[in-house]
């Protein structure tokens, strides 16, 4: 099997650095935008994330995660760091006229990876309150405090839902990995198990 882009980056192949940009710049940019940073912060964040990706390329293990997931993990850490540094929440990000709506034709549909689809499916297996809180935390990037305000749940309950929910997701995904079933169907099967239903 040929080396992946990140493995080539780790080996010092100059062309692979550009290939990495070509393939994943849109993904990283979109993840940064999703966090609600202003354009300047997004630009800085993308630079920061890619430098981290190149530096960390030697740690990439294709048997553990896909390249996109590996990069998304780095992106998440860096974006959290940036948000902390800025001491502001994504929902309060200021509008910038350079950050207007994106023309539909410039968007590229992406195929959700099997592992990401499995994670989404696993999320749907959690108890409704856990799902709700996790969606607000991860999809919308809200702080625990903000989630508590918007849902009326006690702060401690929000924190517990996030923790227990993530721990449960880890268990489900880990089980799928051990079963060699990290696929959409595997995620769906896990979903049924979590709800106490009998998997077919």
């Amino acid at each position: 099997m040929p080396d992946s882009i990140l493995q080539q980056v780790a080996q010092g192949d100059p062309a692979s650095v550009q290939a990495c940009i070509d393939r994943y710049s849109g993904l990283v940019w979109s993840l940064a935008r999703k966090r609600g940073f202003n354009p300047t912060e997004c630009e800085d964040a993308v630079q920061e994330i890619f430098l981290d990706v190149w530096k960390s390329a030697g740690r990439f293990d294709p048997t553990v995660a896909s390249e996109a997931t590996f990069i998304a993990m780095i992106a998440r850490r860096r974006l959290i760091d940036r948000r902390r540094r800025l001491s502001r929440r994504p929902e309060s990000a200021e509008f910038d006229d350079r950050m207007g709506p994106v023309e539909n034709e410039s968007l590229q549909e992406i195929e959700v990876s099997e592992e990401a689809a499995a994670a989404a499916a696993a999320l749907e297996t959690l108890r409704p309150e856990q799902q709700r809180v996790l969606r607000l935390s991860i999809y919308q990037g809200l702080s625990h405090e903000r989630i508590a305000e918007s849902t009326g749940l006690p702060l401690g309950t929000v924190k517990t839902h996030v923790r227990r929910g993530l721990i449960r997701l880890r268990e489900i995904l880990g089980q799928q990995g051990e079963d060699g079933a990290g696929t959409r169907s595997g995620g769906a099967a896990a979903a049924r198990d979590e709800r106490g239903e009998v998997a077919p």
């Binding site: 010092g12 650095v17 849109g26 940019w29 630009e43 993308v46 959290i80």
Partner: protein, 304 residues
């Protein structure tokens, strides 16, 4: 993570990693997490990342479409990538020459800065007055220490070594003095000419640069003082051995007087091979990754 799930005996550790993955780790919890991970919880590298793995997968599942990065971002990435590759190659060459690893630690901040966005290097801006030599000031690392990524220090190893090695004729900050540099027969001296921007309309002076020492000074007279809150001067070094589209960022600086000479040290972020020209542009505070070259204050072209 796939089939690499770590065996967590410590439920509290999982909770801390969950908090970390959603950016809700308090200062005390952060210290506790570091202590538990450093205490040999045995979760390993993959275990450390498991919660971030889960949240990253959810991030990906929530992306319905990918928006192409703007051209300016791609240009910046391309330049950063080229710099990273060059720095890695330089680091390898210097590492083989020996003496690198022992000297990198004390200059870690500079190693980070070398990769930082100019906009994040405000503290690097040298504000200079009459006859002053603007010494490099303390620099704010671009990323928080211990963030798990020490920012590709390899890029700056060459630069680190240059500054870490004491050399004859240096001042108390370790820099070679302007007088010493000017007396070196290998030093290049090029005169400034006015650029297209009004701030440089009356500029005169010279650039003193020594490729062998990889250091130099800009000496200005008549360069209009700038308002740092709205704009700053940025030096670009055009290297004949590099792509003309990607000049080397040489530092951001301010000018506060026109009454006498202003002296600014040159701090290129990459090794310069064959100087073709020095160009000072006017940019947004903090500088830019890629200049649109619309506001050129001064040019010192070799042979020009």
């Amino acid at each position: 993570m796939r089939s690499h799930r770590a065996d967590f005996a410590d439920e509290r550790l999982l909770e801390l990693l969950a908090d970390e993955a959603v950016g809700e780790l308090s200062g005390a919890d952060c210290a506790e997490l570091a202590g538990r991970l450093g205490g040999g919880d045995g979760v390993g590298e993959h275990g450390r990342d498991e919660m971030v793995y889960v949240t990253a997968l959810l991030d990906l599942s929530d992306l319905r479409a990918v928006e192409p990065a703007p051209d300016r971002v791609l240009e910046g990435l391309k330049a950063a990538g080229a710099a990273w590759v060059a720095g890695r190659a330089n680091a390898g060459a210097l590492g083989q020459a020996g003496g690198v690893s022992a000297r990198t630690g004390s200059r870690n901040g500079e190693a980070r800065l070398a990769l930082s966005h100019p906009g994040r290097a405000r503290s690097n801006a040298a504000s200079v007055g009459a006859g002053e030599r603007a010494a490099p000031v303390a620099r704010r690392p671009w990323v928080r220490p211990g963030a798990g990524w020490a920012v590709a220090a390899v890029l700056a190893l060459a630069w680190v070594v240059w500054f870490a090695v004491p050399r004859a004729g240096t001042n108390e900050s370790g820099r070679v003095t302007l007088a010493e540099l000017a007396s070196d027969p290998k030093t290049l001296v090029v005169t400034w000419q006015a650029g297209t921007d009004s701030l440089g309309r009356t500029v005169t002076g010279r650039v003193v640069w020594n490729t062998e020492r990889q250091t130099g000074y800009m000496v200005f007279s008549g360069l209009t003082p700038n308002d740092p809150s709205s704009e700053q001067y940025q030096l670009w070094v055009f290297d004949a051995e590099r792509d003309e589209r990607f000049p080397v960022h040489g530092g951001v600086f301010d000018v506060r007087t026109t009454e006498s000479e202003v002296i600014v040290p040159i701090e290129p972020r990459l090794a310069i091979g064959d100087v073709a020209a020095f160009v000072v542009t006017v940019e947004r505070p903090g500088g830019v990754w890629v200049s649109d070259r619309s506001r050129i204050a001064a040019i010192a072209a070799r042979g020009g």
